[in-house]
Symmetry: C2
Subunit: 354 residues, 2 copies
DNA sequence: CTGAAAGCGCTTACAG
DNA sequence: CTGAAAGCGCTTACAG
């Protein structure tokens, strides 16, 4: 088949130029408004017309110009991901999940890292959302918990979905992760291994999940008749270094805890380091359970027992909520399974020797 | 100051609606074309006029509509990052570097992971670039080495910058990382520690950097009078698992190598695992040097000696090349320092005991 | 150095 | 169910 056989050349389209809605209309013998209706899946098009126009669209390989549509709609086809989570693994998994949901929708993903300690945070987000007239925004923790940011999105009439460990908004704008459950599993695991003196290195209080995870641990232990000693609770910052500091203070106690649960894996590795420096062997002398199940959890020695959050799935589910109205679905009633963390048992926690 | 004092309300602008070029023109008492000239920094505007118009722009907080500009320019204000590197750390650092350069430019970053083994790779990239009419694209390895992808970008007249360990394109479209140098540093380090039987676990041949790093190692050893035994060279896949397999085969040799250099850190951790399983202690019984200097290099035990690539800087420099024409600069003559990897010496490689 | 007209490729609002 | 007109907010090409 030569170029001259294509519909494009038969219709006398300029080569090298993309076909427009006018070309489709002319060739299909309808008005451009009708083509527009077909593109936008309007029900007010006769089936026969729809088929005819669709055939021309496919034949020409026509795709509507996003800028022109955006200008007319006063809305772009870009989804923003605004995040302040410092873990590369978290960020990349989240991005991939969002992209999973966006695939085939014609929407693209624009990434926007931010820093909540930056005084210009809100004005920068405002400028970003307003300039790009974003189709919608996805907010993982902790920026999802920032009401000043949310206020701006509401004011700009920008759809959003928040991901958080507690319900902060209407169901159609929330994806709640059951962090209480994940921490509870970790707590039960340690209690069932016989541990009674259990240390907890929490995340920073800026993250709602820190308190939720602490609550999950506390409740699970209580369920087993074990009280969480508040003197064994230390606040970390979700970083390796903060894990080191917290572990030093916990392991300097006498008697020291026989097990430590950390709010994330980075801090668990800080515990590993301090234990090694003190000549303690994990898990023989100290059991450790982390949270996040980073790839390195299964690379370090001993392999780290950790709570896994399905981050990629979370990204996908949040994006699906954002797209639901476009697909004629009710985002509040989306049939999404609850996001449940699960404990991945490896070698860093073991039964307490009597 | 009340709302009624603002220029916007004095001029009778509708509240809640963003000011347009027409508002600026009317208030400044010029035509919209003149405002357009000011926005686009045309030299053909009298200084007095420029100042007057700029004042109104600032006063109104006017920012041009990106969709409308995009439609008229036939080009969006989006930079695409197309990548297939599987390392989350690499990806996030690269994104941050690109964003460093984009900050303040009004451009946004659209991420596009891809898979070179996907037969639809080229058509998907074409659709992405064509639909969004990208301002430009940045390509890290290995997709930067894919000529079919580059052909499409050329055909679509989409500016791009490639990042690679060898020069594959004109200087204004290339950021070359001196991987030969990085691997050579690793090689010299091991030779200087007295190692003679040195194993090399390379990356996949699909990555040009694999061969370049091997060459750097070989040349540095030769420089020290040490020959790289080709029987001690094994191809890995840049994954932990492939590092495990490669390490098994290398450490089963008799005599086994006294040191192993790996094409990346992931594979180095595979070596750690095998050594541990075999009862070999690093660095006493085996020295290991990695490449990438992932965050976990300083978390594992012993801390991993590794070659660091300034990935974030690379992202920034590549993006600066892409933006140079917009800033009236010549991208080929940009004053960018050469990208030089550097060896970060830690504890995983030590002097060979006689 | 400045401006009135036409156009970028779509959609909304209104008719029929 | 379908269409002609006007508009989204900018820029290009042409005058002056």
């Amino acid at each position: 088949m030569t170029d001259d056989d294509t519909t494009a050349s038969r219709a006398g389209l300029k080569p090298g130029k993309r076909p427009t809605i006018n070309d489709v209309a002319r060739i299909a013998g309808v008005s451009k408004k009708t083509v527009s209706r077909v593109i936008n899946q309007s029900p007010f098009v006769r089936e026969e017309t729809r088929v005819k126009v669709s055939a021309v669209i496919d034949d020409l390989g026509f795709t509507p110009d996003v800028q022109a549509r955006g200008l007319a709609f006063r809305r772009s086809f870009l989804v923003g991901l605004i995040y302040d989570n410092p873990s590369p693994n978290y960020v990349v998994n989240m991005q991939q999940g969002v992209l999973d949901a966006l695939r085939g929708s014609g929407l693209e993903l624009v990434v926007h890292p931010c820093d909540r300690s930056n005084p210009a945070l809100v004005s920068e987000i405002r400028a970003f959302v307003e300039r790009q007239k974003l189709f919608g925004v996805i907010l993982p923790p902790s920026v999802s918990e920032d009401e000043a940011v949310i206020d701006v999105l509401r004011e700009l009439d920008c759809p959003y979905v928040r991901i958080a460990s507690v319900s902060l908004d209407a169901p159609e704008r929330m994806l709640v992760t059951n962090d209480h459950l994940g921490a509870a599993e970790a707590g039960r695991h340690l209690a069932d291994l016989g541990h009674r003196r259990i240390g907890f290195i929490s995340g920073p209080t800026l993250f709602r999940s820190s308190a939720v995870r602490g609550g999950g641990l506390r409740d699970a232990l209580a369920e087993r008749g074990v009280a969480l000693d508040e003197r064994l609770v230390v606040e970390g910052a979700y970083t390796f270094e903060s894990g080191v500091e917290a572990a030093k203070s916990l392991l300097a106690l006498d008697p020291r805890p026989t097990a430590i649960f950390t709010g994330n894996d980075e801090m668990a590795l800080g515990v590993f380091k301090v234990a090694r420096d003190m000549g303690l062997e994990i898990p023989r002398d100290l059991s450790v359970v982390g949270y996040d199940d980073l790839p390195m959890a299964s690379r370090v020695w001993p392999n780290l027992t950790s709570v896994r959050l399905p981050i990629r799935d979370m990204g996908r589910m949040a994006a699906e909520k954002l797209l639901a109205p476009m697909r004629g679905l009710d985002p509040a009633k989306l049939d999404q399974p609850e996001v449940r963390p699960s404990l991945v048992v490896r070698d860093s926690a073991t039964a307490l020797k009597p």
